[in-house]
């Protein structure tokens, strides 16, 4: 019930916001997101972390009986961690947008909260159709957030974002439906008894995730390759992998601050989570064969994204491209297909959400004050905004992957995972007959991938320090209108009171030169988490270990190679045969 609550509470508060007067909107939104966070935390306490591989807190309501679609929720270790991240970023975003958003406040908060619900839905879904609905539903609020409250070129950005992601995910749906069809037409006799006992829904028309995962593994290598292609087409767009990333910089530069934070913090993680939940376990053989090609894309993305960041003049675009590079690391770890790699990539999802989300908050704060994101117009803000500068340097260091902060742990594990994952260890030049190679894992990546991706660490240092050097350090330089402290800005929709001749500390738009209490309140939790996850990441690592072990076991030794029969015989599909048993959540 807790997971259903985590989804329903934001929806209810969205309705309340719609009904409430404009002034109350923000407080209701804050309350809604905070309650979602509280529910998520309570669910975390109830969750039995030692069995993190099993989907717990399950529940299931019959939805479309005929098709075997159930509203079934459940969360394993990884989902629970990501739900917590969503819960945390919710209130942070609401707080961050209190002064930034001044027009149509009610609609803004309503859609923001609906977005929260949809994201929680994606992570908690144990039914493919429910997953897909939530996965798609996140697009609409994001589209509205960007197109109504974005900056100059927001229409185009919103449309491109929506269409690009939507086309991708439709292809992914095709892949998932094929697997469902394959499962429905599976001849139960041909499936070994041991597998059948665990999944009695096998062979019937159902959309239950665990059943489909098992069915997916029984597919022939060719089918698996095609399904992988379809899934990757959809999810690679969401994680911006190299060739399909062009929507991200545009969407980020045009999105409002809170929109960017949510987009970077959680929406990108939908893609990585989907690949972890569906691509890896469902088509393990195809993933194993195509892992090097996909990691090639990641490595290119890291270098490509990194170098492009270096030449940006727009701060937000710089951070957006850095997300492309960072998620390249995350996916490199994922495609290493070993424990260190996948644990590193899941940690990366959380850490990237925190550090990049914070960076976007900080950039938003400058944008509210100086209404520009152009690095040439801003400079040496440390003199005017010391507190902001400290946070900026802190989160830049977290993002660069400084040991002691959260970025390093995940980045190092991803690189280590990629480094290990090569079956050529122990043979030829890399072999040692005296003592077997201790920590090599089979796979097709290897030291070269890690080495080239490692240069990404250097490039990260280059572009982030370039940004910090330009914006934070150096002689003080602010856009023309602002140095005199008098803020005349035609800022989009910002209908503030007439800009009185603000004194040094009180600008016309009611924001002190340095950070206000509220702004610090949004940053402190993220900073604390960055340090805690950097210094003591053990609990998080142990939390996801169960789920990661299971996935690695599946990928390492898929069902078909365990003597499962050759491609099962087919019998005519009966689309209408009702799902025999009431799809229960936890299997």
């Amino acid at each position: 019930m807790l997971l259903m609550a985590a989804i329903l509470i934001p929806l209810v508060s969205a309705v309340l916001i719609a009904l409430a007067p404009e002034a109350r909107a923000k407080t209701i939104a804050l309350l809604g997101t905070l309650t979602q966070l509280v529910v998520a935390c309570y669910a975390a306490t109830v969750f039995d972390w030692s069995f993190s591989s099993r989907a717990q807190l399950g529940m299931s309501l019959a939805w479309f009986e005929g098709l075997g679609v159930n509203l079934s929720l459940g969360a394993d270790g990884v989902s629970m961690v990501l739900i917590l991240l969503t819960g945390l970023l919710g209130p942070v975003c609401v707080l961050a947008s209190s002064t930034a958003i001044t027009t149509r406040v009610r609609t803004y908060y309503a859609w923001l909260v609906v977005l929260q619900a949809a994201m929680a839905g994606v992570f908690a879904a144990r039914d493919v159709i429910l997953f897909y609905i939530c996965f798609e539903f996140t697009l609409i609020p994001m589209f509205i957030l960007i197109s109504l409250w974005g900056s100059t070129n927001r229409r185009r950005a919103a449309i491109k974002f929506f269409l690009f992601t939507f086309t991708g995910s439709v292809v992914a749906l095709a892949g998932l439906v094929y697997v469902t069809w394959f499962n429905a037409t599976l001849d139960r006799a041909s499936v070994p008894a041991v597998i059948l006992s665990q999944h009695e829904l096998l062979g019937t028309w159902t959309f239950d995730v665990s059943t489909l995962i098992t069915a997916g593994q029984l597919m022939s290598a060719g089918e698996q390759a095609w399904v992988l292609l379809a899934l990757m087409a959809g999810f690679a767009v969401k994680v911006p992998l190299f060739p399909v990333h062009t929507w991200l910089p545009l969407a980020h530069t045009e999105a409002p601050t809170a929109g960017s934070v949510i987009l970077a913090g959680v929406l990108l993680k939908l893609g990585t989570y989907a690949i972890y939940r569906f691509a890896l376990p469902m088509v393990p053989e195809a993933v194993a064969t195509y892992a090097p090609h996909l990691s090639m894309l990641c490595v290119v993305g890291i270098i490509y994204g990194g170098l492009i960041c270096w030449v940006q003049t727009d701060v937000k675009k710089l951070v957006a491209y850095s997300s492309v590079a960072h998620l390249g690391f995350c996916m490199l770890g994922m495609f290493a297909l070993n424990n260190t790699g996948i644990t590193g990539s899941i940690l990366y999802m959380v850490n990237h959400g925190l550090s990049t989300g914070a960076l976007f908050l900080l950039i938003g704060m400058i944008y509210e004050r100086y209404h520009t994101r152009d690095m040439n117009q801003l400079g040496g803000l440390a003199a005017k905004m010391p507190v902001w500068a400290t946070f900026m340097v802190f989160f830049t260091m977290a993002s660069v992957g400084l040991p002691g902060l959260n970025g390093f742990v995940s980045e190092f594990l991803c690189l280590l995972g990629a480094f290990q994952a090569s079956s050529s260890w122990g043979s030829g030049a890399w072999g040692s007959d005296i003592e077997p190679v201790a920590a090599a894992t089979p796979g097709a990546l290897g030291p070269w991938f890690a080495m080239i991706a490692g240069t990404g660490m250097i490039i990260a240092a280059m572009y982030l320090l370039y940004m910090v050097g330009k914006v934070v350090w150096g002689p003080l330089k602010t856009p023309h209108g602002h140095s005199a402290g008098h803020a005349e800005h035609s800022g989009h929709g910002a209908s503030h009171g007439s800009g009185g001749h603000g004194t040094e500390d009180e600008h016309a738009h009611g924001l002190p030169t340095d950070l206000s209490g509220r702004e610090i309140a949004t940053l402190v939790p993220l900073a604390v988490l960055c340090v805690v996850l950097g210094v003591y990441p053990k609990p998080l690592m142990q939390a996801v270990q169960g789920s990661v072990d299971q996935t690695v076991a599946v990928v390492r030794t898929p069902l078909r190679s365990q003597g499962a029969t050759p491609a099962p015989a087919r019998h005519a599909p009966q689309p209408t045969n009702p799902a025999k048993t009431h799809g229960e959540g936890a299997q």
Binding site: T246, Q420, W430, G431, A440, A450
Partner: protein, 774 residues
Amino acid sequence: MLNLIQDTIVHAEPQTLGAASQGAGHAHGQTDWSVAAIVALPLLACVLTGLCAALRVKSKLPAWLTVASLAGAFALTAKTFAAHFMGAESHAFVVHVFDWVTFSWAADVHAQGPQTNELVANFAFYLDSLSALWMLFVTGLATLIALYASEYMSHDQGPGYCRFFAAFSLFVFSMACLVMADNLLLLYLGWEGVGLCSYLLIGYFYKKPSAVAAAKKAFIINRIGDLFLAMGVMLIFVQFGTVEYSVLFEKAKPYIELARAGNFAQIPFVVKLIPCLLMGGAFGKSAQLPLYVWLPDAMEGPTPVSALIHAATMVTAGVFLIARTYPLFLLSEVALPAVAWVGALTALLSATIGMAQFDIKRIMAYSTVSQLGYMFCGLAVLSPSGGVFHVVTHAFFKALLFLCCGAVMHGFAGQLDLRKLSGVMKMPGWRVVGFGMLIGCLNLAGFPLTAGYFSKDMILAEAFVTPGTAVIGWILLLTAGLTAYYTFRVFFRVFVGPVAYEMGDEHHGADHGHDHEHGHGQGHGHAKDHGGGDGGHHQPHAPGWAINTVLATLAVLSLAATGLYFVGGDHGAVARLVDQSSAGFHSPLAHHESGAGQAPDHGAAAGAGRASGHAVVSYVPEFVRARAHQGEVHAGTFFGADPHKAMYFVSAGVGAVGIFVAFWLHLAGRKTAAASRADALLPALGPLPGWAQGKWYVDEFYDFLVRKPLWVLSHILYLIDSYLVDGLVDFVGAAPKAAGKVIRPSQSGELHGYALGMAGGAVILIVIVALVAT
């Protein structure tokens, strides 16, 4: 030369660390909190000074907080040192604080052979004689320099002051983590931590774009080194399944056996690659040849920073890394020679550049790079004790030199150009600084009976003793001469000679605080109206009590350091400490004069002592004794004489020549600050001085070779991204619309057009029917 080295490498049977860990076990109890405290105190100071910044403290409180905590840390280190490492034998121990990056996963049932299924990298400290020694001089110097900085930075009180001391104490914390780390991952944390602090401190005067650029340059070049280190750590983990020293050396035993037997061929390529990667990391951090360009620019930071970080502690991190993982370096026949050559070339190159500079801090920076080259050579020519001893002595006298330059800069409002200063020692109040500088220069130049002389001498001797590294010895000898020359060039130009000076333009060296920049600092004003006349009406103010006391203590310490060579066993206490640690490798050929026979038993004694199993891995030279008997192994000689004895006289002689040339060119017959006899010689040398002054254009070379092409590549990639990749997406969007536009004209409204279309269609249809039907 190289294969000869391999034959003589002696490996004692690897010392089971078990002893050490048990040792740690029982020692766990009482020294546990003190070791952790050593690290915790600087962190506490950092947090407190951070709070001071938040609370906008204007007083010198942060300085006192830092000095107090560092003094406490030094005291604790001294206590631990006395408790564990003073005796003949010392035993290492591990102190576990908490689990850091440690997690285990289900064992892979299909993996062939024993696969580790856990990554253990705890926040734990491994204390042995090497790290204790290192911590001693790190915390010691840090305390002194913090005291010095409290006055030096006094003109910048307020947020800047707090920020300085926060970064200062964070630096000491990171250095402590680096030195006392129990595993390579924690070392990596310290490694990058010190990189961050050097970034923050170099960029302290963030108003100056040059400082910001220098800070960025330092961090990025360090990052390049760090990448190699990271790769090394990963390769170690993959190969040995662990990153902890104790377990690592345990696992490396079979290879050490092989190396001891001398057949390197069997050692797999992977194990030989590890030292090369670690070496890359060391060169990045310790500013050696390929990646040294950041150190001279790091002089943008305040002088105490340069003294502590860029002279004494951080830059020695590379030496520490090689010393700590010395057994791994001995496994590869390529690693040590490479280190030797890089060290020697760096020493020579930076010495030549140092000779031609005019900014005294830059000269000191290049001299640091050069001396670091010495230390690496010391390690590489199989005398880690010599190298480490040079690290210790260098730390003291180089800190002293930097602080003297700092005092001059502080007094003369940022004036650092040796052509604008002369006879400073004779001015009132500058006597202590003058004598401090003299002592430092004597040490640096290797004047007989100074600590620098003995440490340099050990390295030179070993270079000639160890077969095959004679060439390195000769290069180092030449560099010793050059060092003596440029050291005393500074001394004779600035501190002695006719009294003449010209105030610098910065006020008090520390750029004034940021928040009241519109109010003109008193210093700022006077420099402008003061104009270029020398001996202007404003008097340079002599350094205060804090600076003088620190300089005095450092001077005394530098002189006292020679004692380390004599007291505490053969080759001094430092050699003993080093031999007892993992870096302990006592060259069997050191005492050639006592005849082949004797060396071994001494060795044996030491070995025996060592055998009691305290050092991680120690080397029992029995093996050498066996080889020596068969006569295969014969120590190198210096023109027939025993290198150790010979070096005493040769290095002294070279030093003296250097000093005399400097005297002759820069003091004798010099009337004014600006000109000296040396200027007359310049044209004779042709373009060389110009190039040297231009630092051999290495910076420009890097910029041209790496930075510019990368910049162009990035622009090209951005164009590709915004037009090609993005263009493709937009094209997919625009294609249907364009197709529609093409087809629309066919609806022209002309009846005849339609009729013709119908007729044409009919004809085609009939033709098809005709063709198909028949």
